[in-house]
């Protein structure tokens, strides 16, 4: 499928950048005139993926979070959030609802929300080599 447009964003793994990330992706996707609910979904899944990179990927260090957003034909978007952090030793376990390696201030719902609010979720990770979360969403047709 042809890529119609693409953007890339790199930022430091600081929590203050979480809002910047979701607003930037939302701004880029706005060219497709998404519904308010679609925009909210996209902001939410970006926020979850970026937070995972910052909280878990770079729990013991600082690093860079990379986001790529691609717009395809038929109103499909693909969002990829990549880090070079600690990686996930057991992806299946990490994706269980309410599972978290974080403290009590984490709900462990990040992957569940990403799965629910996107049409496709793929997670690639290796311990010590970082994690890439890729989400796809097809927006509703617009007249």
């Amino acid at each position: 499928m042809n890529i119609l447009n693409r953007m890339q964003l790199d930022f430091q793994s600081r929590s203050v950048n979480e809002a910047f990330a979701r607003v930037s992706v939302a701004a880029f996707v706005s060219q497709l005139d998404p519904t308010l609910e679609e925009l909210a979904d996209i902001k939410t899944i970006v926020s979850e993926a970026v937070t995972n990179s910052i909280v878990h990927g770079y729990a013991r260090s600082n690093g860079c979070v990379h986001i790529t957003v691609s717009i395809y034909e038929n109103r499909k978007i693909r969002v990829s959030v990549r880090d070079k952090g600690v990686g996930i030793p057991d992806i299946k376990k990490a994706m269980e609802a309410c599972y978290t390696t974080g403290s009590d201030d984490r709900a462990g719902m990040g992957f569940t929300i990403m799965q629910t609010f996107s049409d496709k979720l793929k997670v690639r990770s290796s311990p010590g080599k970082g994690t890439t979360v890729t989400m796809e969403k097809v927006l509703c047709p617009r007249s």
Binding site: E18, E48, A107, G108
Partner: protein, 92 residues
């Protein structure tokens, strides 16, 4: 009343302020007003669940008010409505 975005970055301060108020006033019912919240991710779930645990330990309850449709969808995924009550906002 909560306002703005509730995400990982802002949730620490929200927890701190709310716990301070709980400790000071020891309410039997904690009402969290989401009507001025523009965005909430799973960090908001953790904030509510954490306050629920504190209130329950003190024999109290938690209710949420002013929760919009998007935030409600996120809360439903967590089963939070089995633990806390939802109330309509008292004002428009």
């Amino acid at each position: 009343m909560l306002n703005g975005d509730i995400d990982h970055h802002s949730s620490e301060e929200i927890r701190r302020r709310t716990d301070e108020l709980i400790g000071r006033y020891m309410p039997s019912r904690l009402t969290l007003d989401f009507s001025q919240v523009s965005f909430c991710d799973s960090s908001g779930i953790a904030v509510v669940l954490g306050r629920y645990k504190i209130m329950k330990a003190n024999g109290g309850t938690v209710e949420l008010t002013g929760v919009n449709h998007q935030i409600s969808r996120i809360f439903e995924l967590s089963g939070i409505w089995n633990l806390v009550d939802q109330k309509e906002a008292d004002y428009k």
